[in-house]
Amino acid sequence: MKFQSPFYPDALTAFKKSRFFSGLNQQEIETMLQGFLRETWKKGSIFPSQQTLERFRVLIKGRIEMIKMHPDTGRELTVMLLNPGDAFDVVTLVDGKAHDVIPQALDDLEVLSVPMSTVRNWINVHPAFNQTLLPYLGEQMRTLENLAADLALHDTVTRLGKVIMRHAVPGDMVAEPHATPVKLVHNLSHETLARMTGSVRVVVSRHIQHWKEQGTVDVRRKELAIRDLGELVSPELKEPQEIKGNRNAIP
């Protein structure tokens, strides 16, 4: 990416904010930016597996869902939600092997890409880059660990509550004086929320409808806001009877 590019200031700002590049100084970031190629992807696009094997990408705008799919049933689970500043695929970067996930664009995306070999070289050449990589990897491992624990130890309604809570921004009041806007999961379909929860759309829709009727959450124009944080923290207490009665039947 060239310094004269009209898109350069946005990319530089995104890199400075990125957890992946936060340990680097301005000069190092600017040098690295020269090696990147700018790409845009439309909402719903799926990154071809060959590309994720060959090129390392940093997200500038939009969100990416990393999906695992059952080969026979087609059931899907979102293993990670990437936001601006996140990089992918760090697993391939580390082990050099193809990663069996489907990266799908949740919004129109702007990404910067660079060959994997270049990033591996940076790890050797720039000690500061190496130092930021390890905490970033640790954070991603922690996210996956939490997901595994949630899937094994909690029921669907608790997991859904946790997904919403994990992305809430308390104190950042926007439309409603007593509502907590949800930063990331807003504008996502129930299908996507179901993939993030490890459930199916029907169940997620039913839970959200129930919370809406209870006044726990507010859904307007696909924006989800939490009206009662306390109720969402202990969602089991507010589980709809028809779901509670059929818990074993719910995926």
């Binding site: 590019s5 009209p6 845009t40 439309k42 696009s45």
Partner: protein, 170 residues
């Protein structure tokens, strides 16, 4: 899976755009997938015109050498007037995309180049910028192709004084 996409390069001057055009020709690149868009400023003291003769469009005026060269090698030609700015000229297969878009929504409030870029999958924020750069006398060179092709072209375009080269996957 062969991902189709567009590589769009921005050039500040006609000289830079001409150089890259020559480079594309020298590499025997298939020019039928290349489009060019730029502005022909209209000033009272200058004359710009075009004619269609013997199956070929010819321009005359300040930037006519560049446009005539593009017209010789690429198929498709269109222009439209932006009031107080000048003519926006488009040469190449992007014209067909533009015309299809305009036919579907002739009442559109958007400019033809915006319609064309949106149709090939460029997001609105990027279209805004490309349009404003065109109005500021920059030139756009677009290449459509598979992932391998556009990556190859990207490297070539990048080495010829491009302000920016972006790959857009639709």
């Amino acid at each position: 899976m062969k991902n189709q996409g567009y590589c769009i390069a921005l050039y500040k001057t006609v000289e830079a755009a001409e150089k890259v055009f020559s480079a594309l020709e020298q590499t025997r690149f298939d020019l039928c997938t290349v489009s060019v868009a730029g502005k022909q400023p209209l000033r009272e003291e200058q004359i710009f015109g075009y004619c269609h003769d013997a199956g070929q469009v010819k321009c005359w005026g300040r930037l006519s050498p560049f446009w005539n060269r593009a017209l010789d090698r690429l198929s498709g030609f269109a222009f439209y007037i932006v009031s107080n700015e000048g003519l926006i000229i488009v040469v190449g297969p992007l014209v067909s995309t533009m015309m299809r878009g305009l036919k579907e929504g002739p009442e559109t409030k958007y400019s033809p180049i915006r319609v064309a870029l949106s149709r090939i999958g460029v997001s609105s924020g990027n279209v805004d910028l490309y349009e404003s750069m065109l109005n500021a006398n920059a030139f756009l060179i677009l290449e459509q192709g598979t992932q391998d092709e556009i990556h190859r072209v990207h490297d070539l375009l990048m080495h010829h004084d491009a302000m920016d080269v972006t790959i857009h996957y639709g």
